[in-house]
Symmetry: C2
Subunit: 366 residues, 2 copies
């Protein structure tokens, strides 16, 4: 991707301490103006020692030569196998043609090219009208699990023509990521390459955080794109057959609600229960209890697709045998866990754990 005008980027990177070389470089460059973005799939360029950085820099040099953008104005990402050297000559040979043919119609090709084990191309968009002018936000993501075997990575790239101040956009994007890409889990693993980046024309004096109507409009549109992409990643979860929403409500804090929701979402016993469609609600109670947030263990209610199942931590007396048998049948299931001890809530998206996950991941490399 090449930009005709100077762009700013707001980016969120993996919290993994083992970071791929392009993550280290792009984190640094995200303070600068951005003119070009280059992404490769198939190789994560992670755990390659000193060669990681030198290989990434060679790729950036090729981009510099063709676009005129300085190395500090290039954003670079990699996704794929960990611990193998990047095939730099292959990329160097491809760059001139890539830059020459780059045009506005190329977004879908870009979205397609960043996939690894994804089974479909993931794009989303949203329009915003500000003072009568129509703007767009478009985005693409790759990932079919937070995880990706040693095909490490969730990558998301979002672009807009709305001029924004970097400080404003940074905060806006961080919030949006927190409730979208950072609220999904397939198996709890976090890669060395995870990156979400939002690119936009640089502007000063544009909407500030606050009661400002523009700020809210833009943030809502940005969040819509982030959430749609995040949902697609979960729906494409390796081996997954069910799409699961878990909301922990009436918790003391948002972070506590999120922690509890993620503990349930990552519990193998919860995930296999969904596959078997066999209501063992004790597994949810056990996961809630070990999530180590303050709660009153005798007061928990659980709703599944809005049906009351557990009341005050015991089975709901009104639950019929037939409801018990069918409540886990739908492909999309909404769990509400009411802690009844505070006023905060958080929603996490996940999928079930099937034998296909084992197949995909037991034999990924060979």
């Amino acid at each position: 991707m090449v930009s005709e005008i100077p762009l700013r980027v707001s980016a969120v990177f993996t919290r993994n301490k083992v970071k791929a070389a392009p993550v280290i470089i792009s984190k640094k460059n995200s303070k600068n103006i951005i003119r070009a973005l280059i992404v490769n799939s198939g190789n994560a360029n992670a755990c390659n020692g000193k060669y990681g950085i030198t290989d990434a820099k060679k790729v950036m040099e090729a981009v510099s030569t063709e676009t005129g953008a300085a190395a500090g104005n290039i954003f670079i990402c990699s996704t794929g196998v960990i611990g193998e050297r990047l095939n730099v000559p292959l990329i160097e040979r491809a760059v001139p043609e890539l830059v020459k043919t780059a045009d506005k119609s190329g977004f879908h090709d870009f979205a397609k090219s960043i996939k690894t084990t994804d089974t479909f191309t993931k794009t989303a968009s949203s329009d915003v009208t500000l003072n009568g002018v129509k703007y767009r936000i478009i985005g693409t993501a790759k990932g079919s699990g937070m995880i990706m075997p040693n095909m490490a990575t969730m990558l998301a790239f979002i672009f807009s023509d709305i001029p924004l101040k970097k400080e404003t956009a940074d905060e806006m994007f961080k919030d949006c990521v927190e409730k979208s890409f950072n609220s999904i889990t397939v198996d709890g693993d976090t890669s060395t390459n995870d990156t979400a980046a939002f690119f936009y024309p640089d502007a000063s004096g544009r909407p500030e955080k606050g009661a400002d109507a523009d700020y809210k409009k833009i943030k809502n549109a940005l969040f819509k794109v982030c959430l749609e992409l995040a949902e697609m990643i979960v729906k494409d979860g390796e081996g997954a057959t069910k799409f699961i929403k878990i909301t922990v409500m009436n918790a003391h804090t948002e972070s506590g609600a999120k922690k509890t929701a993620l503990t349930v979402a990552n519990s193998p016993l919860f995930k296999t229960m969904l596959t078997g469609e066999d209501l063992n609600w004790g597994r949810i109670m056990a996961a809630v209890g070990r999530s180590s947030v303050p709660l009153e263990p005798e007061k928990i209610d659980i709703y599944i697709n809005d049906k009351l199942i557990v009341q005050n931590s015991s089975v709901y007396k009104g639950l019929s045998k037939s409801e018990e048998k069918t409540v886990l049948s739908p492909k999309e299931i909404d769990f509400k866990i009411d802690l009844k001890c505070g006023k905060k809530k958080w929603t996490v998206l996940t999928c079930n754990l099937t034998k296909e996950y084992i197949d995909i991941n037991a034999s990924y490399r060979s």
Copy 2:
């Protein structure tokens, strides 16, 4: 189990906030002298609201009547399905016969009776000679996973004829549990009922912690029994075909080493890699990196069965293609992860993740 002499108990209970009724009762009673121990399998007596405690108390009344032990001197445990009422009349009817036939030869029957989905009975023993007198430590455990579907629980009971001071034994047992039962994981789930208890004759003025030779001898024997039982639980892990030891060495702290080892052990990507016997060492690096302990991400070495695989966070140059193919073939595999940034270490035991785990847990109740 009925004791002719007053016993003391040192016990460690689940840290899950959702605790089964017998856990709440036994935790309280563990401060007192113990005369009888009653355990049922098949029902966890967890998440039954106020009925949990009243049902457990009825069982204890039956034991009181037959043994003469006061309710405060009984240790009670349950293991099995969560959220269903205990069949109290069934247990009440059985207690008189149980007490009448209790004798020294009954230990194996006890060990057999506490099983749920365990595929074999787990016992271990160790002898200690103190001042020419021979003592024994014997123990049994149940669990085939930390987890047990909604058949919640890991239970361990250890008995000795060595007279001990409670304070001394409490500390000794806590240390032993930390490096045995608390260092194993099948799938990261913790039950509402987990309990490990060590029973011994009450004594004052017996070996104190310190340089005392007796203290060390007793602790070594106790640890041997705990570790053997813990290893059996992992080997009986649901669907497991491999027994895995993960040692994180040269970490800043013991707790950091343990946290990192557990993060690797619980990673579904690591566990499925073992099943596929396909060396994706990047998955280990990614798990180490997300374990959020202080480390130097460029300095990590990884050994598998004492073969160097990763050196300074990159693939070891001397690794041959044939070694790469066979290094994960053995049934027992020893991983050493050298962080090279401190002097502390910790070992965790785990197993692999197979399709049989999904089968067992997807259809447990039905």
